[in-house]
Amino acid sequence: MVKKINNKIKIDYENCILENSLLQIKNKKNVNNLELIEAWLIDINPIDSPKVLGLIKGLSTNDKRSLLHLKRLQRFGEQLTVILCSTDYLEESEILSSLETQSFTYNNLRTKKVPHHCPGTKELSLKWSREYWPIIWKGNPNDQILNDVKLDINIVKEHLNQIAEESNRTTGETLPIITSIVDPNTNEIVAISKDNRASHPLHHSVMRCIDAVSEKEKEKKQKNQNYDTHYLCNGFHVYTTHEPCSMCSMALIHSRISRLIYLTASPSTGALDPESGDGHTIHDHSLLNSSFEVWKWVGSDHYRLPSLKEEVNA
């Protein structure tokens, strides 16, 4: 985590734009809607709090529900009440067995509903704290999300340049939709794919690109049985010319990518921007099981793309 003041990336917190070029696409509706998740609570003796904090540290590395926005300890009379982890992460038998191995005593293991995230305003934060469980207010949480983004704008431009060029090279029946999947650790392109729906209606560029990544992994595995395959597209970055349709957006959720950057919105068929299509924001939807970052290019370098009919599912 970088302190805001030390961050070298230029961040426009108000408009959610990085380096004057990348607009954050997110579900703007849900930040101030209260969502509750269930967490495990215990009561402890204050003297044991260092030990308990050690246990919490271990638990929170694997707990997919981040509880960092909550105060972990709350004093009630002689005792401290502590949040351990979410009930989604550990079932009762599992939390019991991890408590068994600890060298502190505790009472009253129970569940409690707590706010899933920090709201966007201080007033709401105070209200939820009173009604459910104390929230740590450090300003609008999206500011922290923006501040934590790791980004090299020149590398982004290189990848965008490449897909834009490929898009302009498409001919005939091929739609000018191009997608590349990049490993952010090496900045190497793992796969780059064109749209091919002329030969199969579902061969959109995103789908083909995901297929190409798994084909590559299978080949490597065939050559070397000891090869440790990469889990799906876990952590990869995706660059695509057009905002993807609902099929492709969900395919990217299934593939566990961490970031998508696109050049052009698909106002009728897109499934990411709240203003596009049905406003599904599939990458940032509380009911779906996973999420990824999405950025739309709004920079001054203009990537010209061939035209595409609005009704096309990109």
């Binding site: 209606p201 995901i210 798994s214 992994e217 395959t229 799906l232 876990n234 957006s249």
Partner: protein, 250 residues
């Protein structure tokens, strides 16, 4: 509504495929596609073996149909893809958002499924892709609840074992397979009362109103570990589409 037994018959094939997938260490989700009252294609989830998160049953089924279509003589004036307007899908679990969208883009007629998919269902559990305004000329109806308990039991059986492919495998030693408790079936997430009545019959409306299953009994024959032979389904999938001519080689 008199057709319910026919729909259940097709769903039994999908469950047999799912049972087969379970015994091959894949997520037990499977489907058959039906055209002119015949099974013409099938699919099983294959995400573990294929190292890809998107090789869902529906896609594999669509691909079989698509390659059959490639070898057919096109009827003048009718696009190959139009044939999907007469094809129905029977799938053990509600299609995910990706598959729901794929089925819409390809123009499926109707979808029948067993249990909902609360983590990423696209026919009503999380999103209602089949009824949204994108490509709405292809909107389709989706009917839940056909052998729902059997579909759930197969999934539970799988998830009592560990998914060792996940980056942080979750230990599931203490999990046992429950066969007597089921969550309520919230029909209205998937279809409205009118569609329910038209399809299942007004005499079944109690199920819709009380969020109950159509059947109390569990069909254990379907779940039997012997019930995994899928040779007949594979054979039907190898046949050309009924009523269409095979393209002459020139």
């Amino acid at each position: 509504m008199a057709d319910l037994e026919r729909h259940k018959g097709f769903m039994k094939y999908a469950l047999k495929l799912a049972n087969n997938a379970l015994h091959n260490n894949e997520v037990p989700v499977a489907c058959v596609f039906v055209y002119k009252n015949q099974v013409i294609s099938y699919g099983m989830n294959n995400t573990n073996d294929s190292l890809s998160g998107i090789t869902h049953a529906e896609f594999r089924g669509i691909n079989i149909i698509w390659s059959k279509l490639q070898s057919m003589t096109p009827t003048p004036g009718i696009a190959l893809q139009d044939i999907f307007k007469e094809i129905d899908l029977y799938v053990t679990v509600e299609p995910c958002v990706m598959c729901a969208s794929a089925l819409k883009q390809i123009g499926i007629r109707n979808v029948y499924f067993g249990c909902g998919n609360e983590r990423f269902g696209g026919n009503g559990s999380c999103l209602k892709i089949n009824q949204d305004s994108t490509t709405s000329e292809n909107n389709y109806k989706s009917y839940p609840g056909i052998y729902r308990k059997e579909a759930i039991i197969l999934l539970r059986d799988f998830y009592t074992h560990e998914n060792t492919k996940a980056p942080v495998p979750k230990e599931k030693k203490n999990r046992i397979l429950k066969k007597d408790e089921f969550p309520p079936l919230i029909w209205s997430n998937y279809i409205n009362e009118m569609d329910f009545k038209n399809f299942f019959g007004v005499d079944k409306l109690w199920a819709f109103e009380q969020n109950l299953d159509l059947d109390d009994e569990i069909n254990n024959d379907i779940l039997d570990s012997q019930n995994i032979n899928i040779d007949d389904i594979i054979e039907w999938s190898n046949q050309p589409l009924p009523g269409l001519n095979k393209r002459r080689k020139t």
